[in-house]
Every structure is written in C-alpha cells, then in structure tokens.
C-alpha cells in the first residue's frame, strides 16, 4: 500500500543507481522537482525510458551525468530548440542510445501491463529504427500469408516516476486523461508519484474522480511537490515557464553554462 513520504528524498529512495526508470512525456506531467532531487542525490547509471519522448528532463539528467542508457523516441526542447546536453552526449558517445518510435514504446509497456512476453506492431519494416534494434524481431503473422510483422518485447521498468495533480491518503492518485500513467504504473515494478497536493477523502468514491484515478495498490510512495512539474506544464493546472525554458536553452548550450544552471536551479536555490 502506498505511503505518503515524509520528504521527497524518502519517496525517491527506491530509484537506485543503475535502475530502469520510466518517465512520461512533457504534456502529461513530468516530475521535475523529483528529477532535481535525483540530481542532488547524484543518482548514476540510470536506464531512462521516456514514454514516448522527453524534453528538459532527459536533457538535465544527461547533462548531470546520471544517464547511462536512454530509450526514447525523441528528445528536444520543442519550441525552445534542440536539447543541447542530449545532442552533445550523443555526438560524444557519452550515453548509450536506444532509438525507438512512439507507438513501439507504448506497445512495449502494454505488453508488460498485460503480462505477455511481446506485442506485435505494424509499421517499422524497412526502417533503420528497426535495423538498429536487435532486441526487436520480425515474424510472420500466422493469421495471414506472407505478412511480416514486428514483435516488440515487454518493457518492465524497475520504477515509474510520475507527477500528478492529487493523491489521497490511501495512495490513490488522480491523473485525469493522462492514461499512459496507468499503463506505466501497471508495467513498472514500483511506481513513485509526486503530487501537487493531498486530496481529503477517497478519490475512488467519487464517480467522476474515480474515472481518472490510479488505484493506490500500484503505487509505492507519494511525495507532495507543489508545482512539481515546473518549469514544464501540468495540464489543467499550469503552463510551461517559457522564460525559464529559454534561459535553460541558452545556458545549457555550453558545458559551463549548464553547470551554472545546475548551481542556480538544482543545487542551491531549490535544495531541500
């Protein structure tokens, strides 16, 4: 049963060096306060799986040296340009990159969610995405003739790390239409959630809230982190901090600037 952790660091304790950590896309609620806490803790050798893409979060973790393997479909800062630390790390060969395509990652999480060893997917054939993924296989569709189809292995992360608007004291988490949070929590061994605030009452008892609520038995730990997605947006709650993103893009363009950014926004001002 999920517990409300005393501190953010307590909640993040299961994220060990070297673990497979799943995180969501920018528009769903990215746990940025938790990400900064992990950098302060100096987590190492993460295998980060961003479902299906990432922006600031992956770039920050890469720049801070926390990532060994990155598995995702794209990393950029969107309107704010390329992701500078991601780009630099790839060009320097500093991280291992597993290039995916969005629906393949979704299918791999769904395979883990269903407890099946693999999931088929259309597309992919003839692409270099497939050519560079020896862990993906091409098979014949047994329900047709001469119909090759790609089979993707189940992806079962050690930990899924999410940011959501609300949790109640029973560990239920309101995620709204961010349904991939369900699949991520179902697929992961453990799920850790930061939330804007604690909801009094039981989220499962209200039929409206229940429809967007992840039940507590999937959740390992919860920490309260107001504006925990900042500077990224939390849908229906706050938008992206465009000025901050522009500042990040400017600073992170150089290794020195990136260190300044860490000093200013991760290590000092925002320390617990």
């Amino acid at each position: 049963m999920a517990t409300i952790a005393r501190t953010l660091d307590d909640a993040l304790e299961p994220i060990a060096d070297g673990c497979v950590l799943a995180v969501p896309r920018e528009s769903s609620g990215v746990p940025m306060a938790a990400t900064r806490a992990l950098i302060r803790r100096d987590v190492r050798r993460l295998h980060l799986v961003a479902l299906p893409t990432s922006t600031l979060q992956a770039d920050l973790l890469i720049g801070a040296g926390c990532i060994e393997t990155l598995e995702t479909s794209a990393v950029s800062l969107g309107e704010f340009g390329p992701a500078p630390r991601f780009t630099a790390a790839i060009l320097a060969g500093a991280i291992r990159m597993l290039d995916a395509t969005c629906p393949a990652l979704h299918a791999q999480f769904q395979a883990a969610e269903k407890g099946v060893p693999f999931m088929p997917l259309r597309g992919l054939l003839g692409s270099d995405v497939l050519a560079h993924r020896p862990d993906w296989k091409v098979s014949d569709n047994p329900f047709a003739t001469n119909d090759p189809v790609v089979l993707l292995p189940a992806l079962k992360p050690d930990v899924a790390l999410l940011h959501a608007p609300l949790a109640d004291r029973a560990g239920n988490v309101f995620v709204g239409i961010q349904r991939e949070f369900f699949t991520m929590a179902h697929a992961a061994q453990k799920t850790i959630v930061t939330v804007e605030k604690i909801h009094d009452g039981d989220l499962l008892h209200d039929p409206l809230l229940a429809a967007g609520t992840l039940p507590g038995f999937y959740v390992e730990a919860i920490a309260v982190a107001p504006r925990g997605a900042w500077p990224l947006p939390l849908p229906d709650h706050y938008g992206i901090d465009a000025a901050h993103m522009a500042e990040y893009a400017r600073l992170a363009a150089t290794p020195e600037g990136f260190v300044q950014y860490l000093d200013r926004y991760v290590h000092e001002k925002w320390a617990a």
């Binding site: 896309r25 528009s27 479909s73 309107e79 790839i90 060009l91 395509t101 629906p103 961010q178």
Partner: protein
Amino acid sequence: MAATSPAMTDRDFRDEELLADVICRLIGDVRHVAVGAASPIPATAALLARQRGCGRPYVSLLGSRAHTFFTDGARELFDCAGQGRIDVFFLSGGQIDGEGNINLVGVGNYDHPKARFPGSFGSAYLYYVVPKVILFRLEHSRRTLVPKVDFISAPGGSADNVFRPGGPVALITSRCLFDFDRDRRRFRLASVHPGHSVAEVVENTGFDFDRPPEVPTTPAPSVETLRLMREVVAPQLAEVYPQFVKNVFGIAATSG
C-alpha cells in the same frame, strides 16, 4: 485582434500564411487531422480547415489541452491511426530524400554521428498507416533535401508484402510544393511559391524529381483566408505555439 495592417491586399501575407493555405488545400475534406509536436504551420492549416469545414475535420494537436479529442492517453493517437481513423498527419525530416525516406535521427554514421536530430517520434509507424502524410520542411537546401538519407526513420515506400495503407502525398518547403507518386516513389514539382523559381528549386534540391513543362505558381491566400487565419485560428494556436503566434501573427501569448 490580429496585428495586420488596416488596408489588406493579396500581397500582404507572410510565408507561413502561404504555406498554411497550401497545406489546408492538401488536407481536403477528411474526418480527422492530427498534428504532431513542433508543427505550428501544419497546426495553422488544420485549424483553418476545421474553421472552413464548420467543425469538420476533427483536429488533434499534440500537446494541446483545448484542441484534442483524445482521452485515452498518449497512445490513443497511434491506436486511432492503426484503426484507420486518422486521415492526415504531418512529418518532417532533418533529411528527406527523393524516394520520400525521412531522417529524424542524425547525419553520418549512426554510431558516430556528425549531427544528431531529436529522434524519430512516431514516424516509423504513422508514415505507414496514415493515408495522407504531408511532408513539411521549411529549409529547402541540398543539406535537407538529399539524394539518400543517412538514416531511414521511416521509408517513403515499402515492399508489396508490407502492410502499408499510408504514406507521403506531398512535400512542402519554403520554395515550392512537390506531389509524391507512390507507385514510382518519386516527387513531382507541383507549384513554385510566389517570388521563387524553378531554377532555384532545381539548384537547391539534392534529389531528382519530375516536373511538368509549365510549373504553376502557388496561389496566394485569399483575403478571407488571411482574415480567418489571423482573427480566428491564430488565437486558438497560442496555447501550444505561443512563440510562433507572437512572431507570425503578432499576438502575445497568454500565460498557460
């Protein structure tokens, strides 16, 4: 609301507006148009199509809360496309070649690249299953339109035994519009934008393409189209593309 001059003529338009108008015509009369990340001009075109169609097609903008009809999470777009319910999608490429292959990954050897792009996003799936994929690449140069891409994020065509109801129908750049012939896997110059020439297109294109004896000029957007874009569509775009709306339409972004 729009920051346009009071006396508007047919020439008072920006490149982005011309391109959005062209794309809007390419979209045609369909049920559902989806627009991926970092695609402000296609998003303008899709919302313009919806405005003209009185609510048809459905338009889903990735990253938008107001312009989305998806409530089943990040995978719904792909599931929906797999069901054949997405009629139009847009893709770009750091490199695009003459067979319609697109490269969203990098330049040079994959293991030791000379340049890295963000990544393939959903292209390695959507390019296969969405009937009308419109390729969109503003920069029209021999750097972007190449003889052969260094990495195939998604191929322009597939072998006969590959399930492939979808694929490219056109490529639009800052200089011109190409149609794509799926059977021959070749682009054909369809029109050149006002102020550009066929010779310039040939000079700046790294791949071979077909062209008719007379290449028309891309028609300019009508006054009514410009009004719709500026007054009705632009404010709707501000949620997802605040920088773009500010730069192109002169509308300040509202806070999120």
